[in-house]
């Protein structure tokens, strides 16, 4: 049961925060690449900093273990990112 409820709830909060930050809109996404609206960066970096502090503090206290960290393969990550940016600024997702 919790296998279905938990991701649904987390997903709902995730979608909710994306919507409220305006990241579901084309103009928000593309304007960060035009340097006219930095909301995407502000949003992403705030989330990163909050989660980083929380996760590393909780791990330090021994309250949680990390899941598998996304694999690093320099060329793949970079090339993937380069192609991703094209799609992102084309359709605004």
């Amino acid at each position: 049961m919790t296998n279905f409820v938990l991701p649904l709830v987390f997903g709902a909060f995730f979608g909710f925060s994306l919507n409220k930050a305006g990241l579901t809109k084309y103009n928000k996404i593309v304007n960060v690449f035009r340097f006219t609206d930095m909301a995407v960066l502000k949003f992403m970096m705030t989330a990163l900093v909050v989660a980083m502090i929380g996760l590393y503090a909780l791990r330090g206290l021994g309250l949680l273990t990390f899941p598998a960290i996304p694999a690093t393969y320099i060329v793949g990550n970079l090339v993937g990112g380069l192609i991703f940016g094209v799609g992102m600024s084309l359709s605004g997702y």
Binding site: L6, P7, L8, V9, F10, G11, F13, F14, G15, F16, S17, L18, N19, K20, A21, G22, T24, K25, Y26, N27, N31, F33, K42, F43, M44, T46, A47, L48, V49, V50, A51, G54, L55, L58, L64, T65, F66, P67, I69, P70, A71, T72, Y73, G76, N77, L78, G80, G81, L82, I83, F84, G85, V86, G87, M88, S89, L90, S91, G92, Y93
Partner: protein
């Protein structure tokens, strides 16, 4: 309490507040489910499932057997949650466009750049989404699964991905917007 309710009804939050909320959700997912908030993987899980049902031989490869196992995974259910969460967000601020006229092409800036035709929006969204999903497959995640979730675990991959994403995103925006940049 009234202040909180009023803030929830606001269409656009401060990105810092929304970011804090996402950060807390990120911590909660790792803590409760030992998983990451990935969005693009779910499409590959579903594609693998459909593919295995239609053409099992073609989909019988390393990628769909080991890297992205098909089926209704944790990520697929998360994606369903994201869909409804986004709708709840729009509904609370009264901007839900479900079934309304002009919902398919509602962005003013998009119309100014590409034109008001709905089919253009659909075609570009389709092409853009293919590019996104393909790139996410190469890199091992998308903005949420790799850049944000990987970044909060301080994965080097996430920061390489963000670098690439912004470099080509800025370049593409430059090409599309040219003088209007």
């Amino acid at each position: 309490m009234k202040f909180v309710m009023n803030y929830i009804r606001k269409e656009e939050w401060s990105p810092y507040v929304a970011g804090i909320l996402l950060g807390l959700v990120g911590i909660a997912t790792v803590w409760a489910s030992n998983a990451l908030l990935g969005a693009s993987g779910a499409f590959e899980n579903l594609a693998g499932m459909i593919g295995k049902a239609i053409a099992p031989k073609v989909f019988d490869n390393i990628y769909f057997n080991f890297i992205m196992p098909p089926g209704i995974t944790w990520g697929v259910i998360l994606l369903i949650g994201v869909f409804f969460g986004g709708m709840i967000g729009a509904a609370t601020s009264g901007t839900l466009m479900w079934g309304k006229k002009g919902a398919a092409n509602s962005d003013a800036q998009w119309k100014r750049i590409f034109g008001p035709q709905v089919w253009k929006r659909w075609v570009l969204a389709f092409i853009g989404a293919i590019i996104l999903e393909y790139a996410a497959g190469i890199a091992g995640g998308c903005t949420s699964g790799l850049a944000i979730s990987g970044g909060m675990l301080l994965a080097p991959a996430a920061f390489l991905f963000i670098m690439g994403m912004f470099a080509s995103g800025i370049l593409t925006a430059l090409i599309i917007y040219r003088k209007r940049y």
